[in-house]
């Protein structure tokens, strides 16, 4: 397996995702002799994982079972250990498309953080592209390097431990796209411009606060970026539920037909509207929104560097 290539069977050294049920999963490093505890019992790597096909059901010692999934950057994003607040697939999707990333793209990113976006970028630019990622926190930079190695993508990424606002990305005029997720992105716009190819490229800055966005947009304009555009994207999830609503008892209608009422003689007509009508309830399928949803992650500002 690898994060940039599908494999069929689980191998020693792989990172696999253990899926226990709805919204419940975690990553596991597959190793000969290792054991993993789950609420359904123990999973013995050597006998239960290695050699099995990805997507298989694995029975644990207590009798319950799980599915073992092939890792993808999206699954990784949902399960990675957080060292910082991370970007989720909703924002990542839009960033990937708006920065026009594809195989062969050269991308500069700062800060690396927990590597959520990094993994997604690496997946998209493989096999011929490259990610230059800058992180000013030494331990985080180290951890990111380790993870890229474990995930067998180190050949596609270069991690630099420095301050992008002071020292830039460490490369000049090579990038097709630059991504900034730092406290003061306006201080890095100049460096971003020089990291981008001479003939042009795309830039994106992610900031939670509108004040940061204002300063960044101004800096972009001053440095000659065009097509400056700020937007935000939010995900709305729906739970699919079969809902039963009770039909109210409005009593019986009088003998004459003057009263219009939801009486029993009309119930069969109502059945057509609401599907199965049983015992004074109306049943229907609904996509029900969650009680709470993420209302804000950050503002995404995109712009273009061009020769003109």
């Amino acid at each position: 397996m690898s994060f940039v290539d599908y494999g069929d069977t689980i191998k020693d050294g792989d990172t696999a995702i253990v899926f226990l049920g709805h919204e419940s999963m975690f990553p596991v490093k597959v190793q000969h002799g290792s054991k993993t505890q789950t609420k359904y019992g123990v999973i013995r790597h050597s006998s239960d994982l290695i050699g099995k096909r990805y997507g298989s059901k694995v029975t644990c010692s207590k009798g319950g079972w799980v599915f073992i999934l092939h890792p993808t950057p999206e699954l990784w994003t949902m399960n990675l250990p957080h060292r910082t607040q991370i970007l989720y697939s909703t924002d990542i999707s839009l960033i990937t498309m708006m920065l026009e990333l594809k195989p062969g793209s050269i991308v500069c990113e700062s800060g690396t953080g927990s590597g959520s976006l990094s993994h997604a970028i690496i997946r998209t630019v493989a096999p011929t592209g490259h990610l230059y990622t800058v992180e000013f926190h030494q331990q985080r930079a180290e951890k990111a390097k380790e993870e890229f190695q474990e995930h067998k993508v180190e050949h596609l990424v270069t991690v630099k431990n420095q301050d992008v606002c002071k020292n830039g990305f460490g490369v000049s005029n090579v990038a097709d796209a630059v991504f900034l997720d730092i406290p003061s992105p306006w201080e890095a716009i100049g460096h971003a411009k020089s990291a981008l190819k001479i003939e042009g490229g795309r830039i994106c800055s992610f900031s939670p606060c509108i004040e940061q966005v204002q300063r960044t947009c101004l800096a972009m304009e001053e440095h000659g970026f065009t097509e400056i555009n700020t937007l935000e994207i939010l995900l709305r999830v729906y739970n699919v539920r079969t809902i039963s609503l009770q039909i109210p008892d409005l009593g019986k209608a009088a003998e004459d037909n003057s009263s219009t009422g939801f009486d029993s003689s009309n119930q069969s007509n109502q059945g057509g509207l609401y599907g199965i009508l049983q015992q004074g309830t109306a049943q229907f399928k609904s996509g029900v929104p969650l009680k709470e949803m993420v209302g804000h992650t950050g503002y995404l500002t995109f712009a273009t560097k061009s020769l003109f």
Binding site: F67, L94, M97, F308
Partner: protein, 484 residues
């Protein structure tokens, strides 16, 4: 030399380029001496050829494009401005220049900048406006009178934005951020073997091909006679990308799943379904060679006008042609052989594609069509390997509710999620930052999930599985903090 090292950097004849003016896009074929209309302006693209993509042009008299130099913003000396609009009356009489006056200025060839200056000087209310209002006024006039056009290179970002704005009906109202979600959730990347079923003019196919970079393979399922790839040709992919693009008729899917597939009857195509009739006509050969050319060129010709028109022409010509098929024996024999050769080639490819599908090891499935998604998913998922993502787009939510239910019953999928994205644009200006007035009301819905191995289990075990995958009961609806 430099150009060959960086293919696609410069505008070339034959390219599909996208014209951009502010937020408006239009895809055009770059051809010499071909008049183009865009945003109420007529011009020729001849002068654009050779320039780098991203260059901005002005339309000068005669309809020729002139590259526009990046002008220094005129340093705004502190102009006179008011504080609020309490005394500004909008009676429609504040502008002293009439329509004819302005037209006269335009006819004289006066530059947009000058016209705007004239409008400002002849406006009685301009001085009384606040600085912000003056700014807004100037921006509005610039938009109208300073017509600059940028020629940009097509990409998923640009084409999906363009289609959503211009022809959303052609793409089932798939908004560009929804498309972005599909590409990421589907883990579209180089090396995959993808199955795609779309009726979005080939936009989704093109987006997938762009993210695969020519690596891996794509099998496009199509309804009716053939796949529509009008938008795909706008991307400007190199020929090599199409070597690993396959197509397969939906009408044959059932037979493939049930194991009764035969390549004998291809779906009705113009060359096949019209019976041969004996007639004589001298103009026959010309028509036949025309068809040959159209067929070969149609793959390279990038068109904004739909592919369907071309197919229609080909069909019309073919219909006429086969009527006169037997008339000139000498020329005909060659043409018949050519037709047979092509038929055999098509059959060969179909068998090859069927074999690819029968391996049942595709790395993912993307569906985005006008058809009800449930039957498509239930059958096409058969060809996907376990532990692979799939994404279905639908303009409406209800069919996806049904799809979700049927998938649960069928089993073999986990992590089902029904979602939509909400997109909002912002105006960011000093002291004037706020979301924009209008936003998209809806961009469609997505159902995504991951395949797992299907086991031949007893019904009670599979219901246990369904329970495990069940959403938590409504009472226990926990706060899912980062459920993005």
């Amino acid at each position: 030399m430099e150009e060959s090292a960086k293919p696609g950097l410069r505008i070339r004849e034959g390219d599909c380029a996208v014209l951009k003016r502010d937020e408006v896009f239009k895809a055009v074929l770059v051809l010499r001496r071909r008049k183009v209309i865009f945003e109420k302006q007529w011009f020729y693209l001849d002068n654009a050829i050779g320039h780098i993509y991203g260059t901005t042009f002005e339309v000068s008299s005669g309809g020729s494009l002139q590259p526009k130099k990046k002008m220094e913003e005129t340093t705004t000396e502190t102009k006179e401005a008011g504080t609020d609009n309490r005394n500004i009356v909008d009676d429609g009489k504040s502008q002293k220049l009439t329509h004819d006056d302005i037209k006269a200025l335009k006819d004289k060839g006066i530059k947009g900048q000058e016209i705007i200056q004239q409008l400002i000087e002849n406006s009685t209310t301009f001085r009384g406006k606040t600085e912000f209002a003056q700014d807004k006024y100037i921006k509005k006039k610039k938009k109208k009178y300073e017509a600059v056009i940028t020629i940009v290179k097509p990409s998923t970002r640009i084409l999906s934005t363009m289609y959503y704005a211009r022809e959303p009906g052609k793409i089932n109202h798939l908004r560009y951020d929804t498309l972005a979600q599909m590409l990421t959730l589907g883990n579209i990347r180089a090396g995959n073997k993808m199955i795609v079923m779309e009726t979005c003019a080939g936009l989704v196919l093109g987006a997938i091909m762009e993210r695969m970079g020519g690596y891996g393979s794509v099998i496009q399922m199509y309804p009716g006679g053939g796949p529509v790839r009008a938008a795909t040709s706008c991307f400007g992919f190199p020929e090599s990308f199409f070597n690993t693009l396959y197509e397969f008729p939906l009408s044959k899917v059932d037979s493939l799943v049930s194991g009764t597939f035969s390549s004998e009857t291809l779906p009705s195509e113009p060359e096949y379904n019209v019976p041969v009739e004996e007639e004589s006509n001298g103009s026959l050969d010309e028509k036949q060679s025309l068809i040959q050319e159209t067929e070969e060129e149609s793959s390279t010709e990038a068109v904004m006008e739909s592919n369907e028109t071309e197919e229609q022409e080909t069909m019309d010509l073919a219909a006429e042609d086969t009527e006169y098929k037997e008339s000139k024996e000498k020329g005909n024999k060659e043409n018949i052989r050519e037709k047979q050769r092509k038929q055999q080639e098509r059959r060969r490819k179909l068998v090859e594609t069927a074999a690819l599908l029968e391996e049942k090891n595709a790395d993912g499935l993307i569906v985005a069509s006008r058809f009800h998604p449930t039957p498509l998913l239930l059958s096409l998922l058969e060809f996907v390997a376990p532990s692979r993502p799939f994404v279905v787009y639908c303009q409406y939510k209800e069919p996806l509710l049904e799809c979700y239910t049927k998938l649960r019953e069928k089993g073999g999928v986990i992590n089902l999620k029904l979602s939509e994205t909400w997109l909002r644009n912002y105006q960011v200006l000093p002291d004037r930052s706020h979301p924009k007035l209008m936003m998209s009301g809806g961009g469609g819905y997505i159902l995504s999930g991951i395949t797992v191995t299907v086991e031949k289990v007893q019904s009670d075990a599979s219901s246990l599985e369904a329970q495990k995958n069940e959403e938590p009961a409504s009472k226990k609806r926990k706060l899912k903090e980062f459920n993005c």
